[in-house]
Amino acid sequence: MFNYFSSSDQIRKKLLKKARHEVMRKYYSVPFPNPKLPWDMSEVVSLDFETTGLDSTTDQILSYGKVNIRHGLIRLGSARHQLVQTAGFIPESSAVIHHITDDQAREGIPLQQALPEILRLLAGKVMLVHFNRIEQGFLNSACQKFYGSPFLIPMIDTLTLAQRVLSHRNHSVEPNRLRLFNLRNDFNLPNYKAHNALYDALTTAELFLVLEAEISPNKPTVLKNLIL
């Protein structure tokens, strides 16, 4: 993994030089947020994917949901939910989780169209996820596949933050406890009945506000204290 602490923006510049595809050049041309500034000076995009499975090389993205945090506030007006077309059928094992059927997926947009949109939404911002391997992994695979570039972004992971907060409270943390659903209950956050990428992105954003306030109660901490 890259070390953002000193040089993430320098790596960005290198990747910009190497990028062949227009979409990647656009993405990497926007400077990364300054990690030494308080986190709320940067825009944070809470992003969630529904996928057909956990393996980014074989499984596919079914939908994405996102909501932005600007100046420390979750802006519900920025909420988006988008279905993505899949090649082939959706395996039943994943359909029972995300409730996206083949028919619905056909109404989505192709990944080739969704990907530039997602990259545009993320350019120059911090990506907020719960369990970084999914979103980062799938975006990386897709960027490699379509544009021949790796995907790099400053990232905050609420799962890692939660682990930090809970172990700080002297809890022995069972892995199950760190699931988004369980953390939401632990921190007394709204219980959304629907399970889709947008509500998960929103819950992740809410959870992030809680964890950040726990880590730094009096004033917003600097970004580098939060990113992976």
Partner: protein, 618 residues
Amino acid sequence: MEIELVEIRDFLALQHPFDLLPAELLNQLPAKLSVRYIRRGQCFPPEDSKGQNLYIIRTGAIELRDAQNDLLGKLAEGDIYSSECQLIEVNEASCHMTLEDSLLYQLPCNELKNLCENSEDFNHHFEADLTRRLQKAAKYGNHKVDVGIASMTIEIGELIKKAPVTLECPASIQQAAVMMSEHNVSSILLTENGLLKGILTDRDLRRRCVAEALDVSTLVGVIMTKDPITMRSNELVLHALMTMTRKKINHLPVVDNDKIVGMLTATDLTRHSSANPAFMTSQIRKSKSLKEMQKILQRLPELQLLLANSNISARHIGETISCITDVLTIRLIELVQADIGPEPVPFVWVSGGSQARHEQSSHSDQDNALIIDDSVTAEQMSYFHELAKQVCTGLDACGFIFCPGDAMAMNEKWCQPLSAWELYFKNWVQKPEPMALMLSSIFFDLRAVHGDFSLHKKLQQKILRLTFKNSLFIAHMVSNALKHIPPVGFFRTFVLIHDGENDNTFDIKHRGIVPITDIARVLALSEGISRINTTERLKALCRTRSMSKGMSESLQDALEFIANLRIKHQAEQIRKNVPADNYLPPDKLSSLERKHLKDAFEIIKDAQDYLRSRYKLA
């Protein structure tokens, strides 16, 4: 944009006043919100809010205090904080505090303004004037009235459909008869210069003209009934029925401030008398024994339930039940007198407390007294003791239980000649001791029920002469009236009392109704107003210097709203077959009711503060 945040919209749709927004505006609302998080023990609203946002509590709790650091209330899930968006200055601490970690929805004031401009219902909620909100609340649920049950508790005016048939005097009997035939009516009203002078009915024509072989050219004034009993159009149909029954008449002219509005006939009433109150009163009047009465009165809680179910206002239900109690009392007196003989000297049976104020409910206890003519001898007193004992026992047997404070005619202390009563009141007014003040809610609200009404009238005039502008007495009464303090508000399933105390039940009578009744009484006494009913007292007070029109109307609305809630609560208990009480569990209140109730508390508190400063009480 499609509604992606359906669940947030759905959450908002459950919260008052957002529930009032049309779907289109509500759908757009989530996108205008920001979510923010404030940890426990932090300042609220947050500094960066800069006084420009409304907040909806999604999870957590916030404590609100005023500039003097007194508790104003607590906010929990679904509650709204809108002070920053209100144009009026609020006496609030600059920094409230979150009691728990709180997730808040933040809406900019300018967005709120947009909503207000586009939805009239929604706008009403945010109008600074609490009064208008509460007036609206009092009207909630009043649009659907079941005709069958409601008929006796509607106002007379609603039954008057036709213009009155009148004839200006001088006129002949024949002219009157011709006019009655032309209009196909059984009675005619006779006027002089437009003012009601008399009434002529078919029966009068038969008995006083035809049977007497009187010349039809004779002036009608000779055979008409002069100065007939009249009703006002805002009185209850039930009152009309009782008057007709008592006076054995079938026609009642309806007159408002000298203007003849119409004629109410017994036929009009029969047509509308599928109602139970009418049936019950006529049954009571016909009853021959206590046993029969008990059987009829068993149905009183059921009647209260029926009335409440028909969305009849608490005020009219109170009147109805008081009327039935009156009829019962009268019938009991008649039956006892049939047994022990007529009274040796004139007397009047008076009711006190809620019965007198026409604010009774089916589970009220009895408060009453006897005022006897001063000519009564010591031996004759035993007659009245016996009468009182039997009537009070009868009332108790019929469900109006003995007064726990013994404020009843069967207590010899309250069965006295007029002069003794005058002395009582003189002492109470001159030396307002706690005991006297305790009795004030009963004996300063007296109403004549049966007997020689002039005895009561004399006493009442005496009392008002004693109290009118008597600042020492009034000050004592005021401090007594301030004893029952309304709660600050609600917090989840608790009622907030003074500074942070919680209570999970809420005595709606002593914390809501009694404070208003007390305020109305003391100011009515100080202004020499003879009205007994609280609403009527408040109406009369706004024409005096003691109370502004605005405060009078606010208190009337607050009383109406609280009393309606109480009736609803009791109806629910009667339905579940448990004894009706005044303890309202806060968690049974809807979010709308909580908010209106809180408004009502504020109105009461304002009125109490006003009294406190007017009479310079600390």
